[in-house]
Structures are given as structure tokens and as C-alpha cells.
């Protein structure tokens, strides 16, 4: 689905199973705010170098959500996970040094606790870092409230409470929708998930419009 630059949001977060509840909430919040969620997961083309893919997608996104809460030692290697801070730096660099379009970029940065980042990424002290405490509802509220400030004058987003409520219902519905379609709700790719979220929100919006 093609959307204008200002309606695309880049997601920079962990993609492992443990993070899935927050990832789904994040994608849902972005779509519920009328935007498209983009991430490195959307294209799995072995011919495209990973960093090129990330740069290409970042270049197409005006907005971004970065979660640096999982900059921790990898269980297997014992080394820190640097991809998220690296991609945050790349995005800030595009915003700082890019052309007029890239200078419009906005960032929402999350950590588990609000001031924890100062111990490992003090260069971004002064940025507004939000805490999600590992809670999908907190993440949705913060994303919605931040994206609301990027809207043109006179455009109001649905309230955070409404989006949190709808996310709860979507979560309830997803296994049943997947069952009907012969899909595994625990093994959805980025495109599968975004498609199902967009469809669910569209049907919800149609029902709301009919009832109005």
C-alpha cells in the first residue's frame, strides 16, 4: 500500500519472540493513527544488503519509533546488541544531514525506564525518552500521543484509550481470524501482521461509520 512520506513510520526494535507483544502493539498503534508501519522485516531479499535495505526504508519514512530497551548482552555470545542504537543514530543522522524532506523526520525513543539510557547512551541525553515498562498499553499511549503532535492543525487522532481498547479486542480476535484463514497466529510475518491489522481496523472503521 503506497502512503505519502509523512504517513510512514519506521520501527527499530527487537524482533524476537519475547518482544512480540510489544511489537504487535506498536504496529497496531501506528496503523490506528492512520500510518503505515515499516521495518527491516518487510523485505527478505537475499540480493539486497541489509544496511542498504534499512537505509532505503528509513529514507521513505518521516516518522520512527526506536526501542533501545533491549541493549543487553546476547544470551549466546555474551556481547551487547548494538543494532537498535546504531539504527537510531542512522535515523538521527538522516534528520540532521539530509535534505529538506529528511529534516522533517521525527523520532519516538523508548527505553524500559525513563532515565536508564543515560548509563549506556548518554549522547542522546536531552532527547525526550519515553518509558513503556514492558507494557503494550503504555507503548500504545506514548506512540499515539507522540504521533498526534505530528498531525496537521485540525487533525485529531483517536484517543489513546480507544486505541488500547481496540488493541485488546484485536488480540482477542487474531487467533480466530488466523484459524479461519489457516494461519498460525504465532508465526506471522511482518506483512501478514500488518495486512491483518489494517483489515481489522478497516472493518472496525466501517462499522463505526455505519453506526454514526
Amino acid at each position: 500500500m503506497h502512503r505519502p512520506y509523512t504517513k510512514q513510520a519506521f520501527i527499530n526494535c527487537p524482533f524476537d519472540e519475547e518482544y512480540q507483544p510489544l511489537f504487535q502493539a506498536l504496529v497496531f498503534a501506528i496503523y490506528a493513527c492512520g500510518m503505515v508501519a515499516r521495518s527491516a522485516l518487510e523485505a527478505d531479499n537475499g540480493a539486497e544488503v541489509r544496511i542498504e535495505k534499512i537505509v532505503r526504508i528509513m529514507g521513505e519514512c518521516c516518522h520512527s519509533v526506536h526501542d533501545i530497551s533491549r541493549v543487553e548482552l546476547d544470551h549466546d555470545s555474551g556481547l551487547p546488541r548494538m543494532n537498535m542504537p546504531f539504527e537510531l543514530g542512522l535515523f538521527l543522522g538522516a534528520q540532521r544531514f539530509g535534505d529538506a524532506r529528511q529534516k522533517k523526520k521525527t523520532c519516538i525513543i523508548f527505553d524500559r525506564e525513563r532515565y536508564r539510557f543515560q548509563k549506556f547512551l548518554s549522547d542522546i541525553a536531552g532527547q525526550d525518552i519515553r518509558a513503556h515498562h514492558g507494557e503494550p498499553a503504555d507503548l500504545i499511549r506514548a506512540v499515539r500521543n507522540a504521533l498526534a503532535t505530528t498531525q496537521p492543525p485540525g487533525v485529531l487522532l483517536h484517543s489513546a484509550t480507544s486505541i488500547v481498547e481496540r488493541y485488546g479486542w484485536f488480540q482477542q480476535d487474531l487467533p480466530e481470524i488466523c484459524r479461519m484463514l489457516g494461519m498460525d497466529p504465532h508465526d506471522l510475518g511482518h506483512r501478514d501482521l500488518t495486512f491483518l491489522i489494517a483489515e481489522w481496523l478497516e472493518v472496525d472503521a466501517q462499522r463505526a461509520a455505519k453506526a454514526a
Binding site: 482477542q172 495486512f195 472496525d204 462499522r207
Partner: protein
């Protein structure tokens, strides 16, 4: 090619293995209807 020899137009179904977007929409609608029957409001309140 004359009309007689022209092969009939085929409405292509979704590629085998691909999900039909119409089927997805139907499934989502069906689940909404099911939840409504279970007592969920017809749609979320918009505030």
C-alpha cells in the same frame, strides 16, 4: 485472432497458496459478528 479462436477470459483466482484478500475481509467480518453476538459492542467507542 477471431472471436471464435480467442481463448476465453479467465478471472484469475489468487495464486495457489496465497491468501485471497476477500477471504481475509470475510474472516474479519465473521469474527466481528461473532464477538457482537457474544456481547461486544458493535464497534469501539470513538473518543
Amino acid at each position: 485472432m477471431s472471436a471464435e479462436k480467442r481463448p476465453p477470459k479467465i478471472q484469475r483466482p489468487p495464486e495457489k497458496g496465497n491468501l485471497d484478500p476477500v477471504a481475509v475481509r470475510k474472516a474479519v467480518r465473521a469474527v466481528f459478528a461473532m464477538r457482537q453476538a457474544e456481547g461486544r459492542p458493535k464497534h469501539t467507542r470513538r473518543r
